[in-house]
């Protein structure tokens, strides 16, 4: 895959326990995903999941992971990209729903759990959490047990 992408998009790649992971720059994620899907040698037509990782306190703080699978060629691949936490507002990244429609719900869940905004997402509502909560639970600085004010039992 390295030959297909221009030099500046790839940050690193590694092989751990026979699984290949590639880190790319977050601005180019949509282009990378399109190449991964459309190239006939790679043919990654199945997106297993889109997940977020919070690597607090190291920076860049967030990481988005895309796990890909090719049904025809029977190989798997993982693409990751890192996101800085901006000084104000929420980190933004392009949505890959145009490439794999299944990313819809995965991205909604990642957005509400980590507080990441996916540009051009068709339906950016909360998926699993109650609508009146304004917290991002899977961030590392959010306590496991929540709090009475932020995650109350009942809507006020």
């Amino acid at each position: 895959m390295k030959e297909l992408l221009p030099e500046e998009t790839i940050i690193s790649s590694e092989l751990f326990r026979e699984q290949m992971v590639m880190m790319v720059k977050s601005e180019h994620i949509l282009k990378v995903c399109e190449i991964a899907k459309n190239d006939p040698e790679l043919a990654f037509d199945f997106l297993s999941f889109v997940a977020g990782v919070d690597r607090y306190p190291s920076t860049p703080r967030f990481e988005i992971v895309y796990q890909l699978y090719s049904i025809k060629k029977n190989h798997r691949f993982r693409i990751k990209c890192r996101l800085e936490e901006p000084t104000e507002g929420l980190p933004r990244i392009d949505s890959v729903v145009a490439v794999w429609p299944t990313a819809d719900w995965h991205e909604r869940e990642t957005a509400e759990m980590f507080g990441i905004v996916f540009n051009n997402h068709p339906d950016p509502r909360k998926l699993l959490l109650p609508d009146h909560w304004k917290v991002y639970p899977l961030r590392k600085d959010f306590p496991l047990e929540g709090s009475e004010t932020e995650t109350p039992d009942l809507p006020q």
Binding site: L129, F142, L144, E145, G146, T151, P152, P155
Partner: protein
């Protein structure tokens, strides 16, 4: 005793309160409120091996208006608890609640931001059945304890009134 012997034991003489309690416990219709894994063990209690119909309770009504007993089986998440309260409010008096499973009793293994730490924070619970999930025999034991509790109630002199309002 005395008069019953004269009437060839065809009549049973008792007081009204005992009679009302007996009628209530003998055909208490459950609202199968299956939320999570405990629901599977509740369903196993309903079918032929552990047969709940010998207690007159196999008529699991889906609508709360028809039910007497709410068996909360499974984890009540914070998003779900307003719906649980609303359904409890829709049940007609007299009504009882069984908290089945560790998650309904105290939150279970999920001590975190998303789970209500015990439904007794919101509903008046009559019987707690611990277990993860409790065996069907444990659920039957809990139901029998509830029947014993109902038989001891002073249903005529001091009727039950619960004051749970939906949110």
């Amino acid at each position: 005793m005395g008069i019953e012997n004269h009437l060839n034991n065809t009549v049973h003489v008792t007081n009204l309160e005992w009679f009302v309690n007996w009628a209530r416990k003998s055909s208490m219709w459950p609202l199968g409120f299956g939320l999570a894994c405990c629901a599977l063990e509740m369903i196993a209690t309903f079918v032929s091996r552990y047969d709940l119909s010998r207690f007159g309770m196999e008529v699991a009504r889906p609508s709360p208006r028809h039910a007497d007993l709410m068996i909360v089986s499974g984890t009540a998440s914070k998003k779900m608890i307003p719906a649980v309260r609303r359904i409890y409010e829709q049940m007609a008096e007299p009504k009882w609640v069984i908290a089945m499973g560790a998650c309904a009793c105290t939150g279970g293994i999920y001590k975190n931001y998303a789970v209500v730490q015990g439904i007794d924070r919101h509903l008046p619970v009559d019987v707690y059945i611990p277990g993860c999930p409790p065996r069907p025999e444990a659920l039957l034991d809990g139901i029998l304890q509830l029947h014993a509790k109902v038989m001891k109630e002073q249903s005529i002199r001091r009727p039950r009134l619960t004051n749970v309002k939906a949110v």
